[in-house]
Symmetry: D2
Subunit: 469 residues, 4 copies
């Protein structure tokens, strides 16, 4: 079966080698990556002899008390935060996964999604493997354990070459930390240094938090092998293939203070907003953004047009799983869940509402209506990315094709469905230019499959589903 | 003794009358007011016969589970959130306070600080009163219980006339809700309606959250008496005195989507930033704000100057008491606590850093240094309010006069102390104009005592301290 | 109103003076007294300058973490555990209660119940007092604060002379610990020493737990004043009245390893069982007791008759508030809540079931039926105390007179109602002899009011209720 | 490596098939088995389509809230409680273990210990298996998944025949419940019925708790296959070998109200005490037992001698992991951890202290000293089992041979070491007779290896250790 929940799996990984405060720095690193996954968190440390593990459902601050971090002794650590999805939110899936095999202990933390995960799993199960989780990551452990290669490095390389899809990967043993990037570099993974210690993180913002210095990004197909005393051997398990950095990281997912390919995400978003203003100006009184991810684009749009940026929408920050959701009845009476419109700002005004993307369209419709109820006379929706017409199979939570509004409707139809006065999307070319990666590759080295349907890899599991459906 | 901790007490209050979902709506209301107090939260409800109470230390989402809200039966409710201070963070102080007296149960929630609280307490203790809290609010209950007035309304009026200072006050009994505003209207308190139900809130943002409509603000010296079936009797316990709305609510404290005196706070802050640009332009490459409270002013500054607003500083959002603070050692190694500078944005740039205020100066110095370490070539600090030279005695957490940097140093000296290339404050006149209250009163009806030393009331407790010191 | 819930209030108190581990020893002391109160627990310590307080609902081990005990600095401590009742199970009632009054801080922990508590409260409220709890104990604080006596010792004595009923009382200030026993000595309170430190406890079992040595019991009407350096001044606030030690402490309430008046409770219970065997022998195969309180009496009964004692009934030990109670449906299907009969032991046997008392009769009926369902051919019930015909107003949870089965039914009627083959109670004289207090006073110095209706004090509050009903 | 921690693993299992309240009844069943394992608890249910799982460290009441039990939908359930050991107290080890393999989901709960667990594990790892736990149970899952048998039943039988040691085993799939007993029947496992539902439990006390009826015990080498509609197919995977029921279940481990082989445990213990009195009478004033496990034997001893049984020792009941352990310093000052002696009972008396066993001797010495400190003039220790000279490899927490006092010392030496006036153990023959299993097999079908060294199976893992050491 094609398991859609697995597609939702966007995550963050963090690792540090040979530092006396490894667990604590990993805690701060994961905290900086919290936006990448709010379902669960975990840290595994090693003192060179054995692992110490703590993992649980919840935010980083909920999972780790000071006591628990103190128990994570050892100078090398890897950590993981996982996105909140409904289907497979079970404790067993919380990463880093930890296994024993013939050669000792091994822990794995990964960001991304395999497109042949189900296929690998079925093959392994047919050969007598048992699985305790429903994640791709467990298949990776089985492949390593079953490899006949002489060394662990050999086994890891053999395994990586069987994986297809997106994977920014940390593999910890009591002797070494392996760090790998898939041959398309679909998910970000950066290398930094803190004193003598190598640090690895899904986003550079974690380096700023802990005071580490950014070195470079890991290259597609690269495998780094770092020993406890911070000797790093740079090798490769595969030639790089067409670079395909996820464009949604810039558009929506990454933190604005992170850099990807040397480009600051906030700045890229402002440029997306400026480009959008150029492509789809609207004569209005006020520009507003959907917080938090669209704020930068909205400011860019405002700067480009000279129309003032105002706080027309505000987000209620509730964090954690303990917030009591309003009942359907209360929501119908007007209790707002996450967003409120600011009446004083939008009443009697023509508004451009900048958002980063439209996926199913239901949220956009709700926000447009919030603005209208607060007195906006016109609501013009401007989207700082092209229409999402195709599902992502590499780890971003979009949706099934049937649920993607742009997959089945024209821009005009969407405009009506979301109750806007006008609607415009950014062009794919405009987007790629605005982000501005200095590259000569196709799409300047971006994966834009969700916009164009042109996937950088074969889609094993998905194809099988379509065949059997 | 003059207890400085008591001065720190900024809070939020919320009340709703005669609604079948009173407790749950109060939960959402308090959640919207969470920024006003993160130490503790409490709700008291009545079904006309008896109180139901739940209070505890922590954020609203930490204090209230769905179960606990469900147990708060009754159609009228008041709630309170309290600021986090060190001295008196004890469970007994968590509001609303609840008492039994000769005529039944009474609950009190208050925002603001009395300047004769210690005086009243001493007088009461000398007459045999016992106190279970260290808050002003308990003195109010004693005064009501000891009043010889025939009716509770009479006792409340008699009591209010003995109070001096800031108090936006909700008093609940099983029959009525009393709502009062001090004669200077120092702290905000708004009246709204949700269907037939009257709603009261420290800020209007709570109305937007629950879908209520703003009616008006309570007037200075006014006392409203609302029965369970939402009949509201508007009366007065005192003639209004010189209106003295706290200017810091606009500058820093209130949520940007709230309106005070019909003026949206975000918009006022943008105007403060524009005025600041007018008064103290600087030739730079980038404008940035100290998140979150200075973002609006920084955008206003950028709009007025045409220099781009960028995300030069970012706040790590950790919420709740469970975050593990970095040790001194880790902080010295570069682990950031709350703010990081975004290297890619500021490196090699001349920066204007807009902040809302400087109190002790230590934070400003730290932020300037963050920007310099991230590569800013010049850091020009622009403050969207005048220098704070005097302590607040009405409930805002500033500090003791000795600790106020502007009380003892010139602007030039402060500039050096915080390591800035230049420093400018907004003028008091510019500030008052920019906020733009439509009023002919002195300072357009603002309290600006912390800037000018001109307090709207006599300072009983503080004077006594100075005399005895 | 006559508040029945207040009658249920059986509790335990513990205090220690001038010991470096005061809080921790109080924790162990309260743990030993846990059987006396499972609703809430609290400790107040003083270092001579200020109080440290921690109190909450729950068992001692639930309320106190190691961290929280560590924060309770200071060398003098008092603690309290409170019985679980439904009516007034609120956080505000958790003792020790702590107050500020004109002369500083004061904390009070008490075991027992006043019979003029409502009367005192009404008089205080009429004079403008406010109450934050629904306990008698708060009235004591008001009386002390309102006293005109020159010294605190004077105020305490003046106050104690206004109290009528049962009270074993600890009063802590930053300078002294006051320890008082009501003039009838209704509730136990023992004095011990641990090194140089005076220790006080409701039961001597707490002394064994912490390694302290028993000195003597406090005398009726006595007031001890202990300073932080363990100087103890023995004084008196009242002449002793007729000693009236609660006989239920021996029968049911105290721990079997405690001594009261120098008599070990387990040994007294065995003698009660022996006396019961003498008064009401039954020709059976097996003797069993209702665990845990009747085990000693059952063994005594077995020893006296030579019939073997067997484990015919077993108690499921679930502790704490987290146990999931079986639904009515499951209980009807046979899921046992607390007690199970052991089929192998009772099947085909004639059984004497020894129990300590019958209050409402419903429990006895259930247990008899458990034994019959497990195959007992005859069930003869033997009770190691006389019939309870009158409510207790001094702090034991019995019930309202209407609910006391022996108040309205003959022994024969009760026998039928509980479905026993025969039923016998111990005689009052037999009980008094068996306990064996070496005293010439009436009833050898026992309160036997619940059996005889002869109360040692006037019953102010109860009388008023009867008059108004 | 020979992992001693694994030997400590005494546990309890419970299962129920086709009952609408399966999870809740399993909760009560596990609660009744709580004494068999206090480290962790878990329940897996199936509704015929998929599993629902909840497992965590802690007591049953700590692990399961009402909410969590409600989420465990499905009419068939298995549950597990696990003993508290230090080495492998990790979440991953909490049973029932749950796996996915080629044919679907599978859950396993087991009581007992394999003596070839390490051997199996090494063989599996050598063939590429990965392990996520450190328990034997995971090896069982691997063997099933790797079996080439056509049916699951075939795979289970093939697997069981590879296991050597003690295992009372429940295996759940979405279609069936498998129940197996090792060919020696080392650990107890009983079959009951509740209405139409089959119920399985380590001890019969769980049947009494939920109102189920005992049917019979599962036979050695038997495999039961129960479908969701309660059809039970009785089959066998092995011929029964010499029955070897653990004698320690009678002596110490099982609950006194359980029956094993139709013999009530409390009654058996009383007979052990009577036999002990016959073999080793002592002229004393008082008989006392070490609570709780020795109480029955002590009463038996007292009955046989006519010397009164008294409560000379009392256990402080603290349950759960939250109890604050006294520091070494406090323990030296006399703070008792678990047991106190009752001075009033033993002072000036000659005491027989009956205990169930002596393992390392340290506890016995401490208890003898407690009695002496409380004033006992003579302490005669009587043990209701023979000296433990050999480690148990089948799941009881004894200790390594070096630590077993009786392995290296004569009875006289032990007597001196524990500071007793005299010491006697029950003879092996006397023990076997007193328990009274109606059997003609060797040792009447008991395993007495820990007393005699005559183990019923080959000791694979242990032998290897001895060889390599």
């Amino acid at each position: 079966m094609f398991d859609f929940d697995e597609l939702n799996e966007e995550c963050g990984v963090f690792g540090i080698v040979g530092h006396s405060d490894a667990a604590r720095l990993t805690y701060y690193g994961l905290h900086a990556l919290q936006h990448r996954g709010q379902e669960s968190a975990g840290i595994v440390t090693t003192n060179g002899e054995k692992f110490h593990v703590h993992r649980d459902m919840g935010l980083v601050t909920e999972v780790f008390s000071s006591d628990e971090v103190s128990k994570l002794i050892g100078s090398t650590a890897i950590g993981h935060v996982r996105y909140s999805t409904t289907g497979s939110s079970v404790l067993a899936n919380v990463q880093p996964l930890v296994f024993n095999y013939a050669k000792g202990e091994i822990a794995i933390a990964t960001n991304g999604n395999l497109v042949n995960g189900d296929k690998l799993r079925k093959e392994l199960e047919a050969n007598g493997s048992i699985f305790q989780t429903t994640t791709d990551t467990e298949a990776i452990a089985h492949l390593i354990a079953r490899s006949n290669a002489d060394t662990l490095e050999g086994a890891v390389k053999e395994t990586l070459n069987q994986l297809v899809g997106a994977y920014a990967l940390l593999i910890l043993t009591n002797e070494q930390l392996f760090v790998a990037q898939d041959p398309h570099a679909l998910r970000p993974l950066a290398i930094g240094k803190l004193g003598d210690s190598y640090v690895f993180s899904s986003e550079t913002c974690a380096f700023d938090t802990i005071g580490a210095t950014f070195i470079r990004e890991i290259e597609p197909g690269e495998l780094l092998v770092v020993t406890q005393d911070n000797e790093m051997c740079v090798t490769r398990f595969s030639e790089p293939k067409e670079t395909s950095i996820c464009s949604f990281e810039y558009i929506y997912f990454a933190r604005p203070d992170s850099d990807i390919s040397g480009i600051n995400v906030h700045t890229a978003r402002k440029r997306l907003g400026r480009q959008l203003a150029k492509e789809a100006f609207a004569e209005v009184d006020v520009i507003t953004g959907v917080p938090d991810s669209s704020t930068s684009a909205a400011i860019g749009f405002a700067e480009a047009t000279g129309i003032p940026y105002e706080l027309g929408l505000i987000k209620n920050r509730y964090v954690g799983r303990t917030f009591i959701q309003p009942s359907q009845e209360l929501r119908e009476q007007g209790v707002k869940m996450k967003l409120s419109a600011v009446r004083k700002v939008v009443e009697g005004k023509r508004v451009v509402m900048v958002d980063d993307s439209i996926v199913r369209g239901t949220t956009s419709r709700r926000i447009v209506n919030l603005l209208r109820e607060a007195g906006a006379t016109e609501v013009h929706v401007r989207i700082s990315s092209p229409p999402v017409k195709n599902p992502c199979f590499y780890g971003i939570d979009t949706a099934n094709r049937d649920q993607l509004i742009a997959s089945n409707h024209s821009v005009d139809e969407i405009c009506k469905l979301i109750n806007a006065d006008s609607l415009a999307f950014l062009s794919a070319e405009g987007m790629i230019e605005a982000i501005g990666r200095p590259s000569n590759e196709k799409n300047r080295g971006h994966c834009v499959a969700c916009f164009t349907g042109d996937y950088p890899t074969k889609l094993y599991d998905a194809l099988e589903v379509e065949e059997t459906v």
